[in-house]
Symmetry: C2
Subunit: 185 residues, 2 copies
DNA sequence: GTCTATAAAGCGATAGAC
DNA sequence: GTCTATCGCTTTATAGAC
């Protein structure tokens, strides 16, 4: 059995800690245990400490969404297919609303400004990818932007409510609405 | 000038600290400064410390929403009036999406389970108050519950996206949708 | 009911051996 | 590149004077 993790595996472990505990709630000891390294070794990989780890994790999330959501939306034959692929991936990634969206959690918290560029970019790119899919399906650009924003808003709100109520149904209903929105005229 | 604050004024100050910094991010020193008391005095009011303060603040939020949202929804002549009153109050309370919803922030974070009952109750009562308004307007009970949930989801998601993008527009558009949703057949 | 002083633990971060 | 050991600071919480 291998005892050391490659970079991508490390980022996955670190991401899970931040998603569970938040950036303030997660300690360096928590992060260090998650990747199976001692404190000094973790600081070797990330000399600026927790801030640098959080920055790297946010870039990792961006890459995950590029592969999981943005790219499928761009390359699907129809907008219906693209949204369906997105929803399937999100249902797994957000564990039906039990796991949170790290950029959203950071955006609501006190460290928002510190990671402002990454947070803004994440949501802008997500909304843009959706809008482009809607435009490709024949929708006017301004209407597409509004519907794209509403879709992301709906999904983020569904995670908040699903987590708060301890139920998956609000999240699953948002997935259904996302598919219906693009299927109608 | 008065130097000591009454209980309600104290709760307002403490709430603002938690809304800005979160429960993990806020230190006892932050809370103590916000109410203008020294450490020992704050522990006199809340012997169990930060946990007890957070519990009391969540009860305070519940009371604020009862007066600001739930009661207007119940007592308005029409559902349209009730939702309009709610949206007007929310636009002030959430500062057009610049300030967060504490129960939502806690619900996404690591202390969710610790305050589970308060968080669940807050969202259940909000959704219930909206559903009752929709039922009073002639909507079937099951459709009313779904529309109520979708309205709260939309508002919470709008706060997430507005904060993340540093714009008020996504929040204001959600307010518009809330009013339109109840105005249509 | 407010204050000062202090305890005890955990935190992020660094130094240096291997 | 990983480890152990430790520094200095902040944290929550308590004790006791006024």
């Amino acid at each position: 059995m291998r005892t050391t993790l490659c970079r991508e595996e490390m980022m996955d472990c670190l991401l899970e800690v931040f998603r569970r505990d938040g950036v303030e709630g997660a300690s360096v000891v928590d992060l260090m245990r998650a990747v199976g390294l001692q404190k000094g070794s973790l600081y070797h990989h990330f000399p600026r400490g927790k801030t640098e780890i959080a920055e790297a994790v946010l870039e990792h999330v961006e890459r995950l969404f590029e592969a999981m959501v943005f790219s499928p939306l761009r390359e699907a034959a129809t907008a219906v297919d693209g949204v369906a692929a997105m929803c399937h991936a999100l249902e797994v990634y957000f564990a039906q609303g039990r796991k949170v969206c790290l950029p959203a959690l950071i955006g609501l918290g006190p460290t928002r400004d510190q990671f402002g560029t990454a947070i803004e970019g994440f949501f802008q790119r997500w909304i843009k990818a959706l809008a482009d899919a809607f435009i490709k399906a024949g929708m006017p650009a301004d209407a597409a932007m509004l519907m794209a924003e509403q879709t992301v808003v709906d999904i983020q709100g569904a995670i908040v409510v699903a987590r708060a109520l301890g139920q998956s149904e609000p999240f699953l209903r948002a997935m259904k609405r996302a598919n219906q929105r693009v299927a109608l005229p």
